[in-house]
Symmetry: C2
Subunit: 125 residues, 2 copies
Amino acid sequence: MEYTIKQAAERVKLPASTLRYYDKNGLMPLLKKTSYGTRQYSETDIHWLELVRCLKDSGMPLDEIKAFMMLCLEGSATSEQRREMLELHRANIERQMRVLTRSLGVINYKLDHYNEIGIFHIDKD
Amino acid sequence: MEYTIKQAAERVKLPASTLRYYDKNGLMPLLKKTSYGTRQYSETDIHWLELVRCLKDSGMPLDEIKAFMMLCLEGSATSEQRREMLELHRANIERQMRVLTRSLGVINYKLDHYNEIGIFHIDKD
DNA sequence: TTACAAGTTAAAGTTAGGTTTAAGTCAAGC
DNA sequence: GCTTGACTTAAACCTAACTTTAACTTGTAA
């Protein structure tokens, strides 16, 4: 089954303009077009887009996602390199989670002690 | 104890240019300057900056942080409004953590099954 | 008193990740 | 055969959050 850009956009919950932007920036090197130029998203393309969303939503820059894609294209010779990228990214996600957990602790503390707090209490509560 | 911008920058681990930027954009309405114009960071300013970092690092836009600051200046009349802001922000942090957890699961799954994966395996592993 | 370090400003430049616009192509329904 | 709707492109525009630059002032040390 193949999808138009609009259908693909609905499936991965990104605007069509974003899908065009990703394609233009080399994130979809395998994407096919019909003879008169419209993009045709295959199931594989959709799955790749879902991975792109997952990586992007967890803070990987598009540049890096593209680099990962390029390594995929080069086949199994690059699998060790790709594993390393994912491991670095995992560490990065874990770091982000620690930052969020720490901030959440501060917010929760503030909320627990939030009776008549003003600017002059910033350093005391 | 008062700090120069450089000392404050070191304490809160932000570049001095960022501290100037924050001041210029109204995030530091209580910051004092010496008679010849250099910024003087008090302990209270430092604590406020630490809260700014905490909010910013957990994804609150500077606009909103500034709005929060302004409410603080208005005193206890706005405490309910500030509590609401913090509660919305807490919910936002929790949402971010769910996104990260979900992505982490995908990455971990990929890493666990990472033997000879290429582009053509994107949809199968 | 001269030079240096540290501060100041306004304004311009940067980066990431898009979105919007303008002008055009194509196939189908009426 | 004409309009409509979905697609295309290149290029311009946008926003957040800074950073850099250029020109300037000020206090301190030699």
